[in-house]
Amino acid sequence: MRAFGDSMIWSAFKLSLLVTLVATCVVVLLGTSFAFLLAKRKFRGRELLDAVVTLPLVLPPTVTGYYLIVLLGRRGVIGSFIYERTGWTVTFTWWAAVIAATVMALPLMVKSARAAIESVNPQYEVASYTLGKSELETFFRITLPLASRGVFAGVVLSFARALGEFGATLMLAGNIPGKTQTMPLAIYEAVVAGEGRQAQILALVLTAVSVTAIYLTNKLTGGRTQGM
């Protein structure tokens, strides 16, 4: 029984790490792009994009999960399209856990990166333009390096948020040991099953990660940001 329990902890840990790493990578790419658009471009639907991206921060995670099912489920808006053509559906797969974690962590990345990008003195960008550099090149070579602390703080927060994802993951990916059972879900199952020791180990691991994340973000954002 105990051996089985330890392997459950181990597989939940590995799965969580992998899901979180993949989700964080997607969040960094998407989040930085959205932050750039929201901070620098005026376009129609800008407010709408901001609202949609931010919504998971305030919605109950199960509601976000519900919307993801409505979108991606076998009979969902996008899901039915994929299912009809490939016979595959994302729900209850490893990818579902990645998608849930991504959607839940994205607002933190966008908020942090946007604030960091907007805090960079626009004079530096103007100087870069006078030197013949395009808006995109200026963003990558001037703005982003000067905003790097805030952007990195967003990465750390997103990582921690993705690692702790529970509600939306349960809705979209289910709770399948070894397949979609991440650490937060394993804790829930361990507690329900009366496996106090497993729950304790998992809880300690997650607490350690969260405390480290808070420490790192405070360290990164506490000092004076360059370029302000």
Binding site: A127, G132, Q226
Partner: protein, 254 residues
């Protein structure tokens, strides 16, 4: 030769310029809430042309309009054969395509790059699609730094440089972009008097050596006399005098 005709309403609120024309009293400070119109026409031939006037006279706005940082409400700006801006035909060349070297009052060196990297950043990719190699860019950056006498600071970051050194790096960076004109916005107002005198000589020498026209904004009479080939005197958004520094100074002394 730069030819500029610039009209622009300047008010407190950028979003909603007051629709009715305001009476233009003596006070046209931006803080006072009174909008005033910038309405100037001037030419800058080769050499150093000074835009001279008290703060709030609109000279920096002129410079920024030439660079494309601000857009005039109406007017026409051209440099030699190239049309930068023309409200009549709807031409408004983006900053990047104007080939202007801009030297800012507070340097605006990129804080995460060394002096050499700041200058190298300004070097435009060559005509061939490959662009210039890193080594060639570095060499050119060193050349420009030594032209301004600060090759010793190549590896230093802006926070380690004095005001005078920073402004030399900034001028080198502006020259690196192979500009058709160099625009200087009160470049010496943030450095001490001793450095100012030396930098003035260097800026003048640099202009002579490169042959690129300089448009130089200042409110300091000493700078006008020292460096100017031609002076345009602005007040309250209007050109009130135009000529050689000697003529202008004589008029002022009478």
């Amino acid at each position: 030769m730069l030819q500029a005709y610039i009209r622009k309403r300047i008010g407190t609120s950028r979003k909603q310029p007051s629709p009715e024309p305001q009476a233009r009293g003596g006070n046209n400070e931006r803080e006072s809430g009174q909008a005033f119109r910038l309405d100037v026409e001037f030419t800058a031939p080769s050499g150093v042309t000074i835009l001279f006037g008290p703060s709030g006279s609109g000279k920096t706005t002129c410079l920024r309009a030439v660079a494309g940082i601000v857009t005039p409400d109406e007017g026409r700006i051209s440099l030699d054969e190239r049309l930068y801006f023309d409200s009549a035909s709807g031409v408004n060349l983006p900053i990047q395509q104007r080939r202007v070297g801009f030297v800012f009052q507070d340097y605006v060196l990129f804080p995460h790059l060394t002096a050499e990297q700041n200058v190298a950043y300004g070097i435009r990719a060559g005509e061939n699609s490959e662009g210039q190699s890193k080594a060639a860019k570095r060499e050119r950056a060193r050349e420009l730094l030594s032209l301004l006498g600060i090759e010793y600071a190549a590896r230093q970051y802006p926070r380690e440089l004095s005001g005078g050194e920073s402004q030399r790096v900034a001028l080198a960076r502006a020259l690196a972009s192979d500009p058709a004109i160099v625009l200087l916005d009160e470049p010496l107002s943030a450095v001490d008097a001793k450095t100012r005198a030396r930098l003035l000589v260097e800026i003048r020498a640099t202009q002579r050596r490169t042959g690129i026209p300089f448009l130089y904004v200042t409110h300091n009479v000493a700078e006008v006399v020292e460096i100017g080939d031609q002076v345009i005197v602005l007040n309250e958004g209007r050109v009130i005098e135009q000529g050689s520094p000697r003529e202008i100074t004589l008029v002022r002394e009478e």
